[in-house]
Symmetry: D2
Amino acid sequence: MKHIIKPAEGKLGILLPGLGAVATTLIAGVESVKKGLSEPVGSLTQMGTIRLGKRTENRKPKIKDFVPLAGLNDIVWGGWDVYSDNVYEAATKAAVLERHHIEAVKEELEKIVPMKAAFDRSYAKNLDGTHVKTGTRYELAQQLMEDITNFKEQNGLDRVVIVWCASTEVYNEPIDIHNSLEAFEEALKNDDKRIAPSMLYAYAALKLGVPFANGAPNLTVDIPAMVELAKQTQTPIAGKDFKTGQTLMKTILAPGLAIRALGVKGWFSTNILGNRDGLVLDDPENFKTKEVSKESVLTDILNAQDSPELYGDLFHKIRINYYPPHGDNKESWDNIDIFGWLGYKMQIKINFLCRDSILAAPIVLDLALFSDFAKRAGMSGIQEWLSFYLKSPQTAPGLPAENDVFKQLIKLENTLRYLMGEDLITHLGLDYYEELVESNY
Amino acid sequence: MKHIIKPAEGKLGILLPGLGAVATTLIAGVESVKKGLSEPVGSLTQMGTIRLGKRTENRKPKIKDFVPLAGLNDIVWGGWDVYSDNVYEAATKAAVLERHHIEAVKEELEKIVPMKAAFDRSYAKNLDGTHVKTGTRYELAQQLMEDITNFKEQNGLDRVVIVWCASTEVYNEPIDIHNSLEAFEEALKNDDKRIAPSMLYAYAALKLGVPFANGAPNLTVDIPAMVELAKQTQTPIAGKDFKTGQTLMKTILAPGLAIRALGVKGWFSTNILGNRDGLVLDDPENFKTKEVSKESVLTDILNAQDSPELYGDLFHKIRINYYPPHGDNKESWDNIDIFGWLGYKMQIKINFLCRDSILAAPIVLDLALFSDFAKRAGMSGIQEWLSFYLKSPQTAPGLPAENDVFKQLIKLENTLRYLMGEDLITHLGLDYYEELVESNY
Amino acid sequence: MKHIIKPAEGKLGILLPGLGAVATTLIAGVESVKKGLSEPVGSLTQMGTIRLGKRTENRKPKIKDFVPLAGLNDIVWGGWDVYSDNVYEAATKAAVLERHHIEAVKEELEKIVPMKAAFDRSYAKNLDGTHVKTGTRYELAQQLMEDITNFKEQNGLDRVVIVWCASTEVYNEPIDIHNSLEAFEEALKNDDKRIAPSMLYAYAALKLGVPFANGAPNLTVDIPAMVELAKQTQTPIAGKDFKTGQTLMKTILAPGLAIRALGVKGWFSTNILGNRDGLVLDDPENFKTKEVSKESVLTDILNAQDSPELYGDLFHKIRINYYPPHGDNKESWDNIDIFGWLGYKMQIKINFLCRDSILAAPIVLDLALFSDFAKRAGMSGIQEWLSFYLKSPQTAPGLPAENDVFKQLIKLENTLRYLMGEDLITHLGLDYYEELVESNY
Amino acid sequence: MKHIIKPAEGKLGILLPGLGAVATTLIAGVESVKKGLSEPVGSLTQMGTIRLGKRTENRKPKIKDFVPLAGLNDIVWGGWDVYSDNVYEAATKAAVLERHHIEAVKEELEKIVPMKAAFDRSYAKNLDGTHVKTGTRYELAQQLMEDITNFKEQNGLDRVVIVWCASTEVYNEPIDIHNSLEAFEEALKNDDKRIAPSMLYAYAALKLGVPFANGAPNLTVDIPAMVELAKQTQTPIAGKDFKTGQTLMKTILAPGLAIRALGVKGWFSTNILGNRDGLVLDDPENFKTKEVSKESVLTDILNAQDSPELYGDLFHKIRINYYPPHGDNKESWDNIDIFGWLGYKMQIKINFLCRDSILAAPIVLDLALFSDFAKRAGMSGIQEWLSFYLKSPQTAPGLPAENDVFKQLIKLENTLRYLMGEDLITHLGLDYYEELVESNY
């Protein structure tokens, strides 16, 4: 039975808080793809296929041909930033893309000018931008809602989604003011500085029924108040922290060790990067937010409670180093101390010469398109099936997160199959062999 | 509904053609575990857990507590080899395990003496053993059947299984004599040298209804004649080539790239190892058998037909180098040239300091115990659900193999759940959120 | 006392057999440097400094300011190739340099058109160029001499030097026809195919008193006949095989292990590269020439005769793999098994993401300028002080080569100091401390 | 002319402040070597050879056969520690050596019991030992002198040397009380806590004319007061910081890049180790001492002043991470961003799986034997020729240190040749070729 999904008619606005390396790489890339100059590699919605039915049916449509998503030509870009550079200027400074890629879409990029950001420097000390709004927390939230409404009207949009692409904020744990919508709104009125700027964007979005996905490890929508608001306004939310680079590798490799019942004694991960993200994370308070997000991944996949003999002694250490010579070309090195049969030791070393924004950009696109799809499918609140893209997935209260990227994908794919009325896939496949003697039952 | 499975009563004989590094590491290990001196790390049947029911139920028994498998204390070992060393001597020469691990089970190992092998040096030129049977192909097969029958009787065994642990044979493609049981038995009578020695073991086993799993990349049971025989005698078979080391890493990492729609342009894999396996593979004809097995893995996971933009240009090269300084401590180095958003290039380098036999030993154990379990569950012919352990999985004719190790695990786990009457797991999990408005349907 | 050296007046012709990746990278680079667009990094003659006198004097001129070398503006380029592309076209195809670097000197490069090569495909099977001379070996040598003479006259040159930049020829050992100038010239007249094409260039050069340096591992000038001719015509020669990439790293690292008396048990070196050099070396016969050159390096530095306890068991294996995805971006991976105190094992892994031609180009420049300098300084025959640049240094008969790159540099520097009348440096430096009591003597 | 050197008669006491991993590995090793069970690999004095005369003479004696050093059988061990374990117990806890290596010399090791240490926890917060002396700084120095004198008498020793093997102290810069012997002794009397514990050992040693070498990066003997005292009592001193592991690799590799005029833009070095040294360095103040010592190395070898185009922008970052799973098996990973011809970028990655104490132990032995030799040769004060073993070499005031390990070796070897009346080696070697025409002069 197929679920009822509203068609993707009209234009879709994608608003991005933070028009830095990731956002500009995304926007320039989509514009380049629209002109037929490049391929949107890394985007599941654009390039990925999905198996339907039995293996022997050989049905593997592209996801975008299977599910009614907004088309790239229907996207309109906007955003906020603490620097006033337009997207052409910002992309040039970010220096992720080569000159010729940026120049080819210069006209399109120049038109996109950031709105003033709702910013509080105590949440990101290493940033010095001045293109910022003024006012109390409450006033800032109101201004953001106006920004969204104006953006929608001025561009004649049918729908809008927001994906947080700005820097990591300093570490915070959920406290009383986050625990209910009422408490949150009360704090907002009191201009409570414990409300992080990112929460203002999330609040403004959800109030207007605009889906919100969070690409940084800040709490943002991962507090009861926001979940409550999301349900109230029938709005999908997803978070948190884009899963790229080293953590992506971890959620690929760690399940591979776990399924083979190989033990892990130590996992040392270091990163060197020289972009603005690296600069922000050079501050210990901001790093802590990231660290917590990165660490939880292993704790879940290599489960010490279920398998104390294998993972009870795991020592996990993560380092991020600001290293200007590499720019956006983040590089990670992992040393993994594993043990096998009778406890014999082995080692795995992984050196990933990656590109941070190149890996993140297609994730933003997918989160935007899937969030919009979820809204049209009548889904609201936490979208756990999007945890495939996220380092630290938000789940229902008390529900353990699934960090294994392969299980996350099955969840995503089976969700799509379910909504589109296709059979779920279990990989059982015993019927190909007919070897089960009936009388055995 | 639970399937009917005969209980694992009595003793289980495990017969191993090839009592070299892998087999002796397995035997010494199990004996060590039985004495409480070590843990059978890497063995899913012994250490692995399986999730049952919903995530919130938190049911995760050990597999051996969920499925009726033979216990370690019920195992009796035997085997064949071209060298006459008993298992204590062979383990000492193999030098995989440290001195103290071998000495602690010396008494048990010394008792296990190889039977003479059915060997033909034209299938493994770099081996010079002389502990071999004589006779025509037909006579050799008869002798092997006698060996199996005697072993069972003399040890008072209830059941026997065989796992091929000997060297890789030279490359061969299936020809007419492999195409039907009749043609095979005709060739056998004619002493046709195109019947590989490994096929004689498989034939002898299947004739007697003894499950046979193949740990090398030789054809062996992967020919129509053997499948026919297996069905005839209601015997499970599984093949081929233990998935360890570099290929294991490949089937972990490659799916991780594919699910993210990242492109792969080149994959260079080199190995250095100094054990007998390395010596045999130093011969180009034997290496070819291995190469074909190793190469197919990527072709399947990174599917050029489905995603020509991502995998159409993939250049894949594999090298194995005999390097005595490392002994059994196989080491692999992979360079993977990937590309992401707009085609931007990135690189992954993996250096795996592994131990070949340490990774293989628990696989032999699991294949033996699961094959015996399959027999008792009334399953026969190809056991695709055991492809989790194999580099080059044997499937039903025309059915594409599944090489993604994560899908292979789901297949294995859902097979166990199915046989034991538990719900299959789909990772859908939308019910935790209740967010689907009923009227939407 | 200062040696008498003729000044570097007038123009210097540099003729390069083989206008491929290395040569075109050199030429485009020098032209770019002349326009002030780039720096000649990697060239000792252009960027290097030399310490003179005592440490406390702090005298460290650039080498080009210390020794009278030809200036870059006085260089005129020429060469031969089996393909007829001009240097602009060849540089474009080689794809070593980025587009903008080549375009900036397009005009200069287009003017340089190769003369037809003296070629014999049985010496390089994987090359298929047809821009070749015809005739007997003798006639080819005569034609090459005419080429050189014409090039000198037409360009109004004062001096000419030749550096072999073409591919590696198939493996050959010195035989009777190489043993004396008389035997060589007799063989030449007989059109003896055992005379390699590269020897024809060397012969033509030396006959005309033109210095010749050999950048490939072929014998070429490393035979008694050529040494005899060089002495006769007062011409410097140098060879063989440019020391770049992995071997450079080896001659840096191996001395470092040796001076600390650390043992080495195994050294595995693999390379992946996708340029024409990689294609030629994919042929086993050509690879052998390279292998011999690469292997001798370690044998000399890690001396098993002097230190059998440390290097007596060294297993050294080198592999070169043709891997198109990398193009000219050669990459090497080394695993080195070392041992220290009481024999405890340690490992070093080196992954060098290098660029073959980028490392080779400045070596060609230095060899050309130093060879010309040597000629003007009245030096002739083997120039061992240039072994700093070479994998397999040519020495006087019976004299063991020095492969340690640091000792090679001291030899080079002390040669320059000696010729320029400066004190040789011994690094003794006890005089800074005056601690030696006179009466002790 | 040969220098007069007193013979190595009688017994030599080697006293080691800090009987931890390094010292116990040294002692157990020498005892093992004395019994013929192991080789003293890594020790230049025991295993190294030295070339004498011309290359063609082929004279390469072992250093210990060339220079009159104390023999291993004449060594008597002693030391101080903040823990009271005897050397057998301490070696067992350090777990550097395998069980059987320690057991084989158990009897010898048990006899060596530490004297109480002169300790001040504010100099090493992460250490909690209580086997310590009490008293003012002055009294502690007196007690140490008594310890040395008693040790010498009770063991009937001819000579004693001291090598500092204890932990790194917190960072300190030289101040007024270090500037002259007078000021230092005044401070001593005033119980000035700015005198580091290590200085008390050095003072006690030098007062008694006992040579002192410093294996940690603390100031210790690297202050004018100690140099003054050393000259006064005719005593050799050497410092500071044993050059092992990553820094050894740096002083091997960096000169290799510099001599080829290759640029370096970034050098990132990370270390993971789990021994007591790692624990002490986990404190930022102690790490700083180490960091300063490690950083200076590159600044000197890759000289930005001499070659601003190549090294002016070098970004150098060093990290040390406490990582218990590795124990004493320190592992380093370096990423080096270099550039060549026209500025093209290349990368070198080095992964060194080393063993900290295995590399350090032979250095302690060599420093001890060479310091004793220097004393007998009438040398006093700073022994710069021993900088070969040290990360941060102490030199005469105003004299720039030489950090290139290859130049350091030449200095060491030429010092030995000089003292033994052999020709210094310059590697000129032009005489092998006779190619210089006399009339050219």
